[in-house]
Amino acid sequence: MVALDFGAVLAQWPALLRGAAFTLGLTAVSAVLGGIVGVACGWARAWGPAWLARAVGVYVELIRNTPFIVQLFFIFFGLPSLGVKLTPELASVIAMVVNLGAYAAEIVRAGIENTPRGQLEAARSLALNEWQVFTRVVLPPALGRVWPAMVSQIVIVMLGSAVCGQIAAQELSYAANLIASRNFRSFEAYLIATALYLGLAIFIRQLLNWAGPRFIFGRVATR
């Protein structure tokens, strides 16, 4: 029968911890930049000029209909033939930002398009310019409405970052894979990695649910 030996894997805890920290860092950077890309693209699709909306539409559909690992490999292995060489870390961040940006764009657009007409008319009748209308009146409640979907998407991207280990970015699954291929304790290594991912996901969800209403879109009544 299989005898479990968690000691052999836990003895490598610095590598696991570094991997978890790397995954968290990767997610933090990607969430901030991807969120910004998402808002910009959401604006472009809902409010922007027609040509821009169409261009962003192509980007969104291209990313949402191809696998993340293919996007990652394209950036890491494909771009060098165009003369762009990126480190595994940078390639991972770019792939995650591009990926999250596309999904976030659709989420934000849904929020923006659900703005009640009366709210817009009220804003314009107060002589606010378009920038003020968007940033003060439309965006905050829109983000508030779609925040749960946004948080989920960020967690999905964090979990998806597991494939970044394939291009030698030293995140959590890379650490687990390395440990497993050193001592062949695959089951234990992946079980511990799974627990760490679960912990990270819960942490990120709680953090964003707490931070969202306080810092991102203010205390809005979302009903």
Partner: protein
């Protein structure tokens, strides 16, 4: 209704029976089913790769078919990667691993090995412009290697701390990283490097120094001595009859030579 618990117990006992009967039973099972599952590489020319007809071919595949023929059973080829070939054996998804498997103490703790069946060596390769003579010259360079492979272990032992070792999932990714310039140096098997250099002459890559001479062994699940001894017998006969040399000459361009048992 009173018989229910008994029924459950019987069902439970039955479901555990295969588990209990597993030790030492691999050979009997193979002979009874007339089928042997052999893990082979598909990303490792000339040992194992997919030809233009989309069928696996190479030295390891020939060896797998050879053993199947000698046992008189059908061979089911199971494609594996460097990183997952040992788990395949541990989880009984394969009876034998014939996948350019080198022998080292870590691996000997979890699986058993037969005698060696083909020659192999791992080395460091880089472009002609990079002056690299020994491990110390790797300082400050990025080195690509396949995670968990023998060359990874050797490189990790001898590389200076300032060498940036990037570990990839399989040989294809490692080679892609070198060819696309993402790493300056590649540590890999001679056959992989030979194939890579033949296809990408523009890289100007050359052999730098050897990491390890490691002939290939066939992996058997821990404790399956009956199967292991039977395979050893087949290898010894093939060695004596010159079949091993013939196979090595066909795929590697040189005879198998003196292989350890």
């Amino acid at each position: 209704m009173h018989r229910r618990p008994l029924l459950w117990a019987a069902a439970l006992a039955l479901s555990f029976a295969p588990l209990l009967a597993q030790a030492q039973a691999a050979l009997d099972e193979i002979m009874a089913k007339k089928v042997i599952n052999i893990a082979i590489p598909t990303d490792f020319p000339p040992y194992g790769y997919v030809g233009t007809d989309l069928k696996p071919q190479g030295l390891d595949i020939d060896m797998a078919n050879y053993i199947g023929a000698k046992l008189g059973v059908k061979v089911e080829l199971v494609p594996v990667t460097s990183a997952n070939r040992i788990p395949y054996l541990q989880t009984k998804k394969a009876d034998l691993v014939i996948s350019t498997l080198g022998k080292n103490p870590d691996r000997e703790k979890v699986i058993d090995f037969t005698a060696a069946y083909s020659p192999f060596f791992q080395a460091v390769f880089a472009s002609k412009g990079l002056p690299i003579k020994s491990a110390a010259d790797l300082a400050g360079k990025t080195v690509g290697v396949t995670r968990g492979a023998i060359e990874d272990m050797e490189l990790t032992k001898i590389a200076p701390p300032s060498a940036d070792i990037k570990r990839f999932e399989d040989n294809n990714a490692t080679v892609s990283a070198f060819v696309s310039g993402q790493v300056q140096v590649i540590a890999t098997g001679a056959s992989v490097a030979g194939n890579m250099m033949a296809r990408n002459p523009q890289l100007g890559a050359e052999y730098k120094f050897v990491l390890k001479d490691s002939p290939n062994f066939i992996g058997v699940a821990r404790g399956e001595d009956k199967l292991r001894l039977k395979v050893n017998e087949i290898i010894a006969q093939a060695k004596a009859s010159g079949d091993l040399d013939k196979m090595a000459t066909k795929w590697l361009g040189r005879p198998a030579g003196d292989l350890p048992n």
